[in-house]
């Protein structure tokens, strides 16, 4: 699996729709922008994970649904959901 920006956005939408049990049509892409992240976990590490400390380029994907915003982060090899409470999720890698 290798993501492009568009395919990462689409995969994020699919993930969010499943999590919220809603249609993808109800999810709005607020922004999808290139961004440098502090490490190779894209600044969104999960428990028991160590990541390479190299500045890494990827995309920050902001989606909205049901009046709430959700932040995904992706690069060509992975997609992560950044949780509000500091709990992050690896969606695909």
């Amino acid at each position: 699996m290798s993501f492009s920006k568009d395919s990462a956005v689409q995969r994020a939408k699919t993930d969010l729709a499943e999590r919220l049990s809603i249609s993808e049509d109800e999810i709005k892409t607020v922004s999808a922008t290139e961004k440098d992240f502090p490490d190779m976990s894209l600044g969104a590490p999960v428990d028991d994970e160590m990541s390479a400390q190299m500045i890494s380029s990827g995309w920050q994907i902001n989606l909205s649904a049901n009046g709430k915003n959700y932040e995904y982060r992706a690069d060509k090899y992975q997609l992560r959901l950044r949780g509000d409470n500091g709990t992050n999720y690896v969606i695909e890698s």
């Binding site: 502090p38 490490d39 190779m40 976990s41 600044g43 590490p45 428990d47 028991d48 994970e49 160590m50 990541s51 390479a52 400390q53 190299m54 500045i55 890494s56 690069d75 090899y77 992975q78 890698s93």
Partner: protein, 476 residues
């Protein structure tokens, strides 16, 4: 002819003769005038004078700055003693002269000969020939050396000029000398293949042309690695804890980048130079294609390094360009165990621009006697904007921004992070061990931390207050 006609004819003849005489004189005057004009014209636009220089009048070859207590007469005596000649005194810089070597010896050697006379000479450098179609940045040999660097040896790696961390001459807006002082360090040692540095990372591309000569290969007298639970591994090139197999090939690039900083083969006409021209790099893979891995796999790989040390492999340093805010006692214990085997553990401080004294980052924050925590500097000796810091928890800083090193597919790229600063520290530690192989891990750590160049920008930011200096660490 009547009398009247005679006088008329006589007057006409006189007039004609006089006129002819006058015209003749005018002609001579005109001729003289033309000659003088021609002479004048020739004198006012002289042809270029070409004077063939003799061998003894050849171009000056070295610039030597003598100390203020040496006068010109003494300078000429010194030059004559070396069978050289003072070609010119550079009046604007007291003591600086251009010297012509009458033996036509190698200019670098001539400069080095003068540089060695340190009682009389402040510095000496070859005169570099600058051609309009050959910019000075085109090859490492064209690099402008700094003062007192004339007797150093530059590696012939074509990308060396872009390695500001090793030799910062102010390229790309950097600050001259904001570097590891590698040129002076290499006067003492360029590394040793007796020293093994483990790169605990995403693996290493051990076939990369700039790394292949410096990769560790299990010697025949060291048995295959055996783990009671995981089985036996034909660990020819290292170990892959991420996939529980022997092949540590890198599929991310990060580990290959770190390996190049530590030990890309130097002076091999290829790519870059590592801080060690010669060393043995042992790849320990625990992170996958994405550049992240588990603490468990990191521990497995550290365990491998410890076991190999016990089996007789001279593993002295582990490079850990990774981390997290998650504390793991098991990881801490594994690193402690490595220390008990005499292995130094060099760890990245992290890239969140935060204070590790307040928000710990691991493994760099483990308070263990074998851990060195590393912050990153930019090419102007400033703490990199992304770098973590902590006067009680981060020990030292090293170049970590826009660092050129090896990458996948026989490539090279620049990268930034405390990931890049860490292998410079691990590499300097290996360089010290090349020079002093019996040095204990504790003394090695002390040496690296106490030989820093103190920087105002690091005051209150890192424990040592400075940037590592390879030459000082070697006692140069």
């Amino acid at each position: 002819m009547n009398r009247n006609n005679f006088w008329i004819n006589f007057c006409i003849a006189v007039v004609l003769i006089t006129s002819a005489a006058i015209l003749g004189q005018i002609g001579r005057w005109q001729s003289m005038l033309h000659k003088n004009m021609a002479d004048f014209s020739t004198k006012s636009t002289p042809k270029p004078i070409t004077v063939k220089r003799s061998e003894a009048e050849s171009e000056p070859e070295v610039l030597v700055k003598f100390r203020s207590n040496v006068n010109l007469a003494e300078i000429k005596k010194i030059a004559a003693k070396n069978n050289d000649r003072v070609e010119d005194e550079i009046e604007s810089v007291k003591g600086l002269v251009a010297i012509d070597d009458l033996d036509n010896a190698d200019t670098k050697k001539v400069a080095a000969q003068y540089a060695q006379m340190s009682d009389f000479v402040a510095y000496a450098e070859p005169v570099f020939e600058v051609k309009l179609d050959d910019p000075v940045t085109n090859s490492p040999q064209d690099l402008l050396l700094r003062e007192n660097d004339a007797n150093t040896v530059l590696p012939n790696d074509p990308m060396f000029k872009d390695q500001w961390a090793l030799n910062n001459v102010g390229q790309n807006g950097g600050k001259a000398k904001a570097d590891l002082n590698a040129l002076n360090a290499w006067l003492k040692t360029q590394g040793s293949s007796d020293v093994v540095v483990a790169v605990l990372d995403s693996g290493v591309d051990y076939t990369h042309p700039d790394l292949v000569a410096n990769m560790w290969i299990r010697p025949d007298n060291i048995p295959q690695y055996r783990d009671d639970e995981l089985g036996t591994f034909n660990d020819l090139h290292g170990f892959n804890a991420a996939d529980n197999q022997s092949d540590p090939m890198d599929d991310n690039g990060h580990g290959t980048h770190c390996a190049g900083i530590i030990g890309a083969e130097g002076d091999n006409d290829e790519g870059i130079a590592g801080i060690n021209w010669k060393v043995e790099i042992m790849p320990l893979k625990f992170m996958g294609r994405g550049g992240f891995g588990t603490t468990k796999d990191a521990i497995e790989a550290i365990n491998y390094a410890i076991e190999r040390k016990r089996a007789g492999v001279n593993v002295k340093v582990i490079n850990a360009s990774w981390g997290s805010t998650m504390y793991s006692k098991a990881l801490e214990d594994a690193i402690r165990a490595a220390g008990e085997e005499g292995i130094l553990f060099v760890a990245a401080a992290g890239n969140n621009s935060t204070n590790n004294d307040k928000q710990p980052h691991y493994p760099s924050n483990y308070k263990l006697p074998n851990v060195i925590s590393v912050a990153a500097l930019d090419r102007n000796d400033q703490l990199a904007s992304f770098s973590n810091y902590g006067v009680n928890t981060v020990h030292v800083a090293a170049p970590g921004k826009d660092i050129l090193s090896t990458w996948l597919n026989d490539g090279y790229r620049e990268a930034s992070g405390t990931s890049m600063a860490t292998p410079y520290v691990a590499g300097v530690a290996a360089l010290v061990l090349a020079s002093e192989p019996k040095l204990s891990m504790e003394k090695l750590r002390e040496r690296v931390l106490q030989s820093v160049d103190k920087l105002d920008s690091l005051n209150g930011k890192v424990e040592s207050g400075g940037r590592i200096n390879a030459a000082k660490a070697l006692g140069e």
